[in-house]
Every structure is written in C-alpha cells, then in structure tokens.
Amino acid sequence: MTNDIAGLTKSDVALIIGSDTSEAHPVIAARLKRAAKNGMKLIVIDPKRIKMADYATIYACQRPGTDVAVLNGMMHLIIKNGWEDKEFIAERVEGYEALKAEVEKYTPEYVEKISGIPAKTLEEIAELYGKAPTAALYYAMGITQHTTGVDNVKSTANLQMLCGNMGKVGGGVNPLRGQSNVQGACDMGGLPVVYTAYQQVTNAEVKEKYEKFWGCSLNANNGLPMTVAIDKAYEGEMKAFYVMGENPMMSDPDLHHAEEAFKKLEFLVVEDIFMTETAKLAHVILPASTWPEKQGTFTNTERKVQLLEKAVEPPGEAKDDWEIHQLLANKMGQQWAYTCSQEIFEEMTKCTPSYAGMSYERLRNGYGLHWPCPTPEHPGTPVLHVGRFTKGKGTMFAIPFKEPAEMPDAEYPIYLTTGRILQHFHTATMTRKSPGLCNLAGPSVMVSVEDAETMGIGNSAKVRVTTRRGSIVTNAFVTKRIPKGTAYVPFHFAEAPANMLTNNALDPVAKIPEYKVCACKLEKA
C-alpha cells in the first residue's frame, strides 16, 4: 500500500476492485464498512457481488478480466468532464497525453460491450470518483492474477495520478497483500532480480556493495521466477529445489504439470512444519518452528515492520528456519555465527536502506515502523510519494485492453474464477488443522442460480467442474452473489483443488498466472 491502514477512514470515496475484502482481509474490511456507515462513499467493482457491495453506494458487476477496460472507461469520463486534477498532472506526472489519447475510445458504450457494466452505471461511478476531493483505491489478487496483471496495476496507478490521489492521506494505490509476511519476503530479497529493498542484482554497483558486505563474489545474472523454474524443471533443465515454508504442489497453476516437474528433480529439500503435498515429494524434509515459536519481524501490507515475540517452544527437534540455514551454510564451508534473530535483523538493516533506521528496541517501544525509515531518528513513512514520487515524476502508461488468455466458448461456456474464503488460508496447511474452521467451511463451487437451474441442481449437490487442464467434483453453493455464466472455486482444498483447473498462462512481465479467469464447464455429478 502506498498509504497506511490507520488513514483509510480519511477518504471521501473508496473504490474496491478485485478484492473480496471481507473474506480475504476481514479487519481492513471492517474499517472500510465502518467508514462507509459514517459517510464515506464506497464503490465496488467485482464479478461476484461480494459482501462489501452491501455497504457500497454503487456496485458494478464486471465480466472477469475486464479491469483495464473499466478503468480506462472511468478515466475517459473523468477527462471528458474535466474532473481530472490538472495541477497534479502538470507538476507531478509524465505521459498524460498518451494516456488521454488511449482512453479516448473507451466510451461507456464501448466499455459496456466489453465488461457488461451498464454505460449509465459507469457514468455514475466516474462522476462519484472523479469529483471526490480524496479517493482511495483498493485491490488484491483480482487485479494481479491475470495475463494482464501488470497492465491492470498500471491502470490503477493511472487513475490515481489522474485524480491527484497520490501522496495524500486517504488516497493511494493500495494493494492488500495476502500473507502475513509476503511484503517482508519481497523486501528481504526473496525475489530473483533483487537483493533486499529492491536493489537490482544486475546493477554492478549494487553487486559490488553486496560482495564487500558478505565477503564473497556474487552471481551477476537475474534468477528465475518460480513459475518459470517449474516449467524448466518439467523440461529436465532444473536439478534441485530447496523449498522453505511453501506448498507449490497446491498453490501452483496446473498441478498435474507441477507434479511432473517436481518428480523430475534430482533433489528436493523441503523445510516446513507439516507433511505438505510438496513435502511428500521431497528427498529430505527439515522440520521448522512456526509463528508463535520464534522471535522475529513481519512486514504487513502497509509496509509496517512489526515484532513478534516467542510464545511457546517448538515441538520435538524442530528448529527456527534461520538456524537451519546457518547449520547448512556451515556444513557447506561457511562460518555463520548468528545467535538470535536480532543479530540477523541488525545485519540486514546495514544493507537495506529502507530498513536502516529500525531496531528491535524501536519496534518494541511502539507499534512498528513503516518503511522507508532510513535513520534511527526517522519516524517511518506511513504515506508514500508525498510532494514527489520516489522516482521523480510519476509515469502514466497508455494501456490498451486485452482479453484473458482463455475465454469461454461452446465447449467450455462458463468463466471460472478462483480465490479465498474467510475461514481458510492459502493452501490450508494451517487452517485445516483446526476442526472448528473445517466445520465452518469446506470445498465448494459457487454457481449462479440460473446455471444451477439449467443443471437441475440445488445447494450442496455434487458438481463436476472441468477445464482443458483437469476436472474436480465438489459441492455446489448456489448463490445470487454469482452472475450467470460464472463459477467460483476457493483454492484451499486438496480434495477439490482449484489449481487442477486453472490456466498456467502468465503475465509476460510479472510471470503471475491467470488464476482469475479461465473457461470451464459445469455438470451435475
């Protein structure tokens, strides 16, 4: 998020697009619902009539995968009516003319044809949003998990720059991140192209800095993203995977393909807390401690670094992950000598400019710090881009709408989209160990009333969902919240895995798979 959570009640208008907020980020949803009750206008755009729509001033049902068209359509109307922030555009933005030329053709009628959102509704949305003194935009994987994921994200930034909603309290582009430390894993250089704090591995100066800091020579080439590495493993090109606390055998697209890929590896080591679907394929399994069993820090969706204290002892011989890395490094000739997580944090802050001013002491004496926090005196940065973008001027991109990689056709006539439900988390390795959470929610496919009638089925009937990649049988959840011609499968459940069905077509830049759209057929099973 460019903005902080505490500030999210300060908006005049909030737009949620591609986030089932009350299911996936319930506490942020609570704050947004509260703000809506207290007068903030809420706009919800989503193929599913999500719970947040009940609190919205305007809800629009879009066809899956049409975000660029919808956002371009909003910008078309905002420019046409002169609601754009002219001063902000003149002073802080480049690329406006190209954007303006691109969105010219996205009339409400044209956008209606693509997205299914009535022209009149789009006009209402654009007016409410365009005229708002301050408006915030929230999204989650509904924006990113597309072959046009990068285009979608850039379009959200275009809209916020066009309306001058950047760098101020109550505004911002606010992606809601889905895992406790997904932000931190990125910040720490858990990515193939960057060291900590997004310092490029191909930048010679950066490489030299790290070589000096770590006292060794480093690889100058970008590494592979996981989705590409799995394809290469399938082709027999990759030889070994070391997997820590992840379950790609549930979370990856097209699981048949992923399983073949893992089975071709010469060596697979998995460091985890349970015998996951991935661990079952490993040659060596290393038992790790988990969340309340260790001290350390997480960085949340608003870039706030917070401290976790150790509450209980890990079971048996399980060890903290850092300790395992140290033991292994030392077996391979290193002389690592960390005695606690605090020492690691201190080392990390020395090579990570945005964390440089943080310490356990500061984190403990308050409620964490937002990065960037470059010096020990710096209070942290709840709102990014105030007065100036980090890179100077903000760049607007002219982005044409592109269809998803796979569209419904005669054979597979239904849109399939996937996501989360409130009671479970990710591949459910953790939540399915809770009998209570399991009793509350199990595998299902949400289908529309119309499609259920066509199939002649009611609630809880068995339904077969089939795509070009695979097929699952699960229980129907017939609901008015899903429009005709769309089906929704949560991806948490190994016995009805959504990712047997999903398309492994990737965004060309971010290499993110298109989990939010593919074509399926539904049959009574």
């Binding site: 959570i5 980020h25 609570a30 991140r177 895992q179 430390n181 997904v182 894993a185 990125c186 720490m188 250089g189 060291y195 591995v201 770590w214 480093l218 690889n219 590494g223 592979l224 993203p225 996981m226 990759m238 030889k239 070391y242 820590m244 790609p248 990856d252 010469e266 349970f274 015998m275 060596v284 038992p287 969340w291 309340p292 260790k294 820090t297 969706t301 401290l307 976790l308 509450a311 209980v312 079971p315 048996g316 011989e317 992950d321 850092w322 395992i324 890395h325 292994l328 690592w336 997580s341 409620y367 409130l422 479970h424 390795t429 953790m430 939540t431 209570g436 959470l437 009793n439 509350l440």
Partner: protein, 352 residues
C-alpha cells in the same frame, strides 16, 4: 484543568468524562457498559457518583468534567447506589463464577469485590439454563448477560458485521443474532469481537473452558500469521503446558484496534497439532520416509547441493523463500542461496 475526586486534586483534560479522569489516575469506579472503543452508553448506572452542585447522582461515564469540579465516588449515597445496581444485576441472572471462563477478568466480579457483595440480596432459584452453544467457537450464556450493550455496539460499530442486536422487550430484553436465530445459524462470522469486549461471562470462547485462567497465563505480543493486514495480538500462554490458551486482539494497535478475524483469533490449533514434523526425515528408495538426525540430514543436503552445483552449475538450483516466515529467515535464506549456492534463483509465492 484540575478536578477534585474524593478530596484529592487531579489533572484533567477538557472533554474527558469523570470516569476517564478517574481511570487515568488509577481510581476505580464500578462501570460495566462503558468501553473506550464503543463509547458512552449510560445504561448500567453502576458508575454513579456525587458531583457538588449537581442535583442527584450522576453517571460518571457520561458527565464531562469542568474545571474545579468536586466529585465523590465513595460517598455513602454513591456507594449505596452503586451497590444497589450491582446487587440487582447479580440477582437478575446466574452469575456463578466457579467454572466461568471469565473468572479473574469479569468486571461484574470486580465491582462486587470492590463493593463487598458476597451474595445478591435476591436469589431467583427458578432460572432455567438459557444458553446457546450452536456456534463453533463462541458460547452464549444469557443468564450471565447484563444487557450492557457493548457487544451489540461492537458488532455494529466496530467490526461492522451487523449481526448482534437487542431483541424482545422490557424484562425479556436480550441479545439476539440476526432476527433471533441461534448464533451458529446466523450470519455471524465469529470474529470474536463480542467475546473480547463482553465484561462478564455471557460471551466466552468455547476453547478456553477448563484451561489455565487469566491470571495463570503469560501474555506475549505477536502478529497474526495469516493474511497481510498484520493484526497485532496478545497470545495467552500456559507456560507449564507450553500451550496457547487464547488469543486476543491488541486494543491499542493502530492496525487492528483489537479486532481479529475467525482465523486469527481461533485458528491456532495447527501449532501443537500431532501432525507437526518433529524430526528431519530422509526418503528411502521405496518412497517411504525414515527419521534422521539433523547431522545426517544436513550432511545429505550439503553433499547433494554441492554435487549438483559442480556437475550442472549453480543456476540449476532453485530456492523458494516464504511469505509465512520472518524477515530474518527470508534474509538468511536468500543469503544462503546467493552466497553459498551462488544463484539468484530465489522466489516465493507472492504471485500465488
């Protein structure tokens, strides 16, 4: 400004209520319906005090202080009224503490203790059990409910789930879920905000029954392991059993203001689950696993990774970091892959 309470002067800020000033300075006044989060309700009348120059007793939760105000929280009249209110509340239900999960944190118990009430004056022996255990995680005991309204306000104004409300009339008034459904059949999402804010034992966590009591647990600050919001929490630990007894949201956190969701509050069973991996394991030739020592397992990993490095090159090895472990551990992981293996093949499931 200065305010006199029970003959002693205290610093106060404009806009504060008598109760807020008293609390700030560590002075106890019985109060049951007020909570900082949901604000003034002025319902229970347990917090009545005498204020010089004001007619009758005043509810300290709702009266804003003035400079020079002279308040008596322990005058005979005030104490008598406080005692009557608490006595009647105790009489109106079945406030048995012996096996109550709230014992030690019950605000009605605190008030009775402060006022020296051993037993209620009126005892209705014919009160039928009136509870609702239909919900997965939360137990309702209407006989312990004092109709303070905190849970209703929290459900509607704090977490904004709009499930809880008051139903029925007069003496029959009670909290209801939706239009009077059983909690488990209602639209309740079991975030547990009502449990955390309930001053008595009317709404309690099913999982804590019979476990270590409030004063026996150590409270450890932590951050929720699930989504990326980063709700801060207080883990209540039974040290003797090395076990989590309950998890509460941190009321002072700017991130979640005490709120949690059903996973964050109740979904910690995985921690001490019998399926946890407790020793390193090595795959046998027939595909089964055998237990191994750390030394043996790590020797094997080191040898294999070294062999592959030499035979095929460093970029034939891929490391998956994790969005579920700490920053420190992601740092050591990428440092291991980059400095020991010699590759930038590091990723995690940020996209998935």
């Amino acid at each position: 400004m200065l305010v006199t309470i029970n003959g002693k002067q205290y610093e106060a800020e404009a806009g504060q209520t008598i109760l807020q000033v008293a609390k700030k300075h560590g002075l106890y006044i019985p109060s049951l319906c007020y909570h900082q989060k949901v604000g003034v309700a002025g319902k229970c009348r347990a917090c009545v005090v005498e204020v010089e120059g004001m007619r009758g007793l005043q509810t300290s939760c709702s009266v804003v202080v003035r400079d020079g105000m002279n308040v008596s929280t322990r005058s005979e009249k005030a104490l008598q009224a406080q005692k009557l209110v608490v006595d009647l509340l105790l009489s109106s239900g079945k406030h048995d503490c012996l096996s109550c999960a709230q014992n030690g944190k019950c605000e009605l118990q605190d008030a009775a203790y402060y006022l020296g009430i051993e037993r209620p004056t009126l005892v209705f022996s014919d009160l039928e059990p009136h509870g609702d255990e239909s919900s997965e995680f939360i137990k309702v005991d209407h006989n312990k409910c004092i109709s303070c309204g905190r849970c209703v306000a929290a459900c509607q104004k704090t977490v904004t789930n709009d499930v809880l409300d008051f139903g029925y009339r007069g003496a029959n008034t009670e909290i209801v879920f939706d239009d009077g459904k059983l909690m488990g059949k209602s639209t309740c999402v079991q975030c547990g905000e009502c449990v955390q804010i309930c001053p008595v034992g009317a709404l309690t966590e099913k999982k804590v029954a019979g476990q270590a009591r409030y004063w026996e647990t150590e409270k450890v600050k932590s951050v929720c392991p699930y989504c990326g919001v980063g709700c801060t929490m207080e883990i209540h630990v039974d040290r003797k059993l090395n076990k989590i007894v309950r998890v509460n949201g941190d009321e002072n956190s700017p991130v979640n203001e005490g709120m949690l969701c059903v996973k964050g509050r109740f979904g910690y069973d995985f921690v001490d689950h019998s399926d946890r991996l407790t020793s390193p394991m090595i795959r046998n030739d027939d595909g089964s696993f055998r237990k191994a020592s750390w030394d043996e397992a790590l020797d094997l990993v080191a040898t294999k990774l070294n062999d592959i490095k030499v035979k095929h090159g460093t970029d034939k090895i891929m490391g998956l970091a994790s969005a579920k472990v700490t920053n420190e551990e992601n740092y050591t992981f990428q440092k291991f892959m980059r400095t020991v293996i010699g590759t930038n093949n590091i990723d995690h499931c940020a996209r998935l």
